[in-house]
Symmetry: D2
């Protein structure tokens, strides 16, 4: 149960079987930093190429294909006072004729600046102003992109997502959440990056408020337990996260993974259907990038009420 | 500002230009009843054919194509002690190979019974039981299907949805919500039915807890104001509801309608994009039936914080 | 086996249970006319509202829900020398960012004129010209929209399609083709309209070359034979046509309907899979309107080669 | 203009920046071999892991990001007398309820054997037999998977496809076709494999008739010419091939790429729309694997008729 401090010297634009930057044990904690989506660090200097650069990968001793890796995000803190967002909803997320009528190519690339204040715990848009003045929002920092190495020797760009995780951009992946990831290769190879100070559902303008960050996380290795898609546990809920296209396929996969999870927790399969039918909640992760992310969620208190108890995985 | 009591004698399985059952004025309130999705009434007798039978249509004097109809649901109360649900997530909402492996044709048609108790405000599943006993859930009654008459003389089945409303099965359409509907024909012709005692997101088993109900609603006519999709206002939020296939098209249309709404409220269009980018929330309505429903939602307090004030429409 | 001449006096913008214009017997032939998509007749006068006005419906004596109606198109002849097309691929059928960059709202509504010459059997675009002069194409007249009345008392707009047929805009529905349609209501109620002098796959600009036409067709009633989707038989092939959204769902339904057909023809189901796996052909019907049309096709000579013989339905 | 004979010693399960196996010049011809999808060679021995193993990559001297690589398939010859197919249409390509009712997990993995006869130029299914005896089909050999290295250092599994090519499984990629591929990395890095003796549209059972093969191809480097998606030229047609999910997105991208191509050939953009509107043809490539392939096609004689002449790229 060691705490490692790791300051990255280089970053990866793909998730995959890169040379590990650090070997850690089951139960260890890592305190590290991430650059923003454009490769800018805490000093706002560009230190690597843009495109969701990933810190890592971290090699977890003993992890093998077929295991599950649990990663608890202990703390996620923006490390600079400036954050940036794009300005324009992607045309592919609007009515095609509306988009064609109002959208002007290039606008998508403009960036707006926000002042990140970790004392008042707010992000304030510097310009433009709104009718009542500046737009100021409470921080809600989350890790936009993280995952294990995919199978088959693949190196997959950090702007997409699949069974190994990736760029899911779900605003529930905040400090306190424990994420569960399938292990496909020896050591698991955990990557992370693309922290947002906060974000709307869907990441429909193509960014959250993009910041550099300090992230502390603790890993737990669950041997011999195979999951098909990322899962997570927050204070109140358990959830599955599936990444696919079209959106309904992400919906199908997230739902199926939740059925499997409930069955693993001891529920007879038809009861899992009955329960989800009247109680399930869905949320939308990234719908901007190639793979769409759909979240399928069930409240812990509901599960406890029907006699299921944690640990949930 | 009159209150009408209307007890239906017949029902419609389509929304459209049927002969109106009642003419009402702008501002009037209607207290009426609905049968359940199978056509069963408060006595649990089948009084009409199954398939979301609709009460109405109600003719609103002065309403013309291009206007908007506001309908506030004042009260939605189940009127019998038995509710029913289907048992099985639709195969098309599961991973296709998983569905093919576990699903058995016909199961979809089984019905389970729930005891609806409007005193304790709970629904309790009579069988099967769960590990901790019976599954009991707080009531959250909502109108599953409602809408105006579609254009072009169409009569459209009450299991689907489009710009005129229809079978949206969104759990936010509860008492207290005001829904806004485009008017396509003289009198608007408001229909309603398919009340659920409560429901999970998506209506993934094909039903909520289906009940007969008493519904009180108050109409307001907004002359000369054209909207493209249903909208609504709850205590906390404004929301747009779009009904289309595939799911991402419902997402596109709901997002576009919300952009339009924010612009109508006085926000410059690019500011609407910026705001939604970091603050929007999405929810999932019906994904069981031919048209999928996606909800795009923004908090009223957020809007007030940037200087926008109601009335919202 | 009578031949009826029927000159329509009015038209319908929906397919459904309208009052029949003519009652005919199994085996009868009808010689009638259709107006173009804009409601213009052989004299190019607008005689009814635009939106694929339908001639009919024709009541087939003895037809009941669960039967199949076979309609052979004996002859389809343009009846005027002018045809019209739209000019611009719909933005929703282009890359969204490309569409947003190049598309200008309103262009979609422009109309170009073509000279239809039934002697030389060509359509010639009057303007604009192409590098080598005028664009001239061989005629290939087809019926864009036809179908029976849908179930449940619905009246459904003639710009969409479903199990009953509708606006399929498939260029294979030419003279010589026999189409098979499910019967949902007493009399079947066959409608037709929207003839194109010729058309590209997908109807991606929203029109074929739109003309008024004379259509001769012969009906055959197949009692007690139920099909799930429109089917057809051309000189060389049998094909199924499914209408749904998204495109892959039309693909699924067309494929499934062809599997069923091969099984009905006597092929063991796994052999149907094996055969289609290596021999199936797909074509694209309408992808412009709400429901997309996908065609699943198998060659008759291939079927004869494995020992299956007609009649095919 | 040299001809290289290259016998692979190892294969790759991903397309990407692997160490090149051979450096060739613009204009050179390569005569090489491919193993089948399962990694079996001309002797039917498994010599590498299954999953569309790729021969190559071949490094083309002088190729840089932003160029286009033209590859003409001169000859594609099966090199053994046995081919194999799967037996069962994937459940995700059938109506979900039909699939759930009739499909039995595991059937998808069964393999059938075909005798490949390059003298009679036929493939004959050994078992099961059909009503008229054995199913025998004319050979039509094609390369199922080929492409350049994708950008960003990615290594992408050879069962999917994108802008760089990949597993497109289009039956038009036969001997005589010239394919055009975008170059993303120095040397281009051309891979190929997964030859089918023949195949139905869509590869709906998950395989064509899978064989080992000898492939001869000739490369031409087109400096400074950037294309966005694979294109090809056959004897009769030019075509674009786009790989995406959902199917309609592949349709959008293929259509857009064809518009660009026609504009490059000198057609004013609105004329390109008009021409495609009435003359375009679509075909379906792979719809079994993660990315769907849609083909957008225009006849060369049509283009010549309006005054456009080759060379086409």
């Amino acid at each position: 149960m060691k705490t490692h401090r790791f300051q990255p010297a280089e970053y990866h634009l793909t998730l995959g079987s890169h040379v590990p930057v650090l070997e850690i044990e089951d139960g260890d904690t890592v305190l590290t930093t991430t650059v923003d989506n454009k490769g800018r660090d805490a000093s706002d200097r560009q230190v690597t190429s843009p495109g969701n650069p990933q810190t890592g990968p971290f090699y977890i001793r003993g992890a093998d294909a077929g295991d599950t890796l649990a990663v608890r995000f202990d703390r996620i803190t923006p490390t600079r006072s400036i954050g940036r967002t794009r300005t324009c909803i992607a045309p592919r997320l609007l009515d095609p004729e509306y988009a064609a009528a109002v959208w002007h190519g290039g606008r998508e690339e403009e960036l707006l600046e926000w002042r990140i204040d970790t004392e008042s715990w707010t992000a304030t848009l510097l310009a433009p102003s709104f009718p009542a003045g500046r737009l100021s929002l409470p921080l809600d920092p989350m890790v936009g992109c993280f995952g294990t190495a995919p199978p088959r020797g693949q190196l997959i760009a950090s702007n997409t997502a699949s069974r190994y995780g990736g760029n899911m951009d779900y605003r529930g992946f905040t400090a306190g959440a424990t994420v569960y990831l399938p292990v496909f290769v020896k050591g698991g190879l955990f990557h992370l990056g693309d922290v947002h100070a906060l974000q709307g559902d869907g990441e429909i303008v193509g960014t959250g408020i993009e910041v550099s960050a300090e992230v502390e996380f603790t890993v737990r290795l669950i041997k011999g337990r195979r999951i098909d898609w990322p899962r997570a546990e927050t204070r109140d809920s358990i959830l599955s996260a599936a990444n696919a296209r079209p959106l309904v396929q992400a919906f199908q996969e997230a739902t199926t993974e939740m059925v499997r999870w409930l069955v693993e927790l001891g529920l007879e399969e038809t009861r899992a259907h009955v329960l989800l039918g009247q109680c399930v909640r869905y949320e939308v992760g990234n719908v901007y990038d190639p793979a769409y992310t759909m979240i399928c969620k069930v409240g812990k208190s509901l599960l406890q009420g029907i006699g299921l108890e944690g640990p949930w995985l």
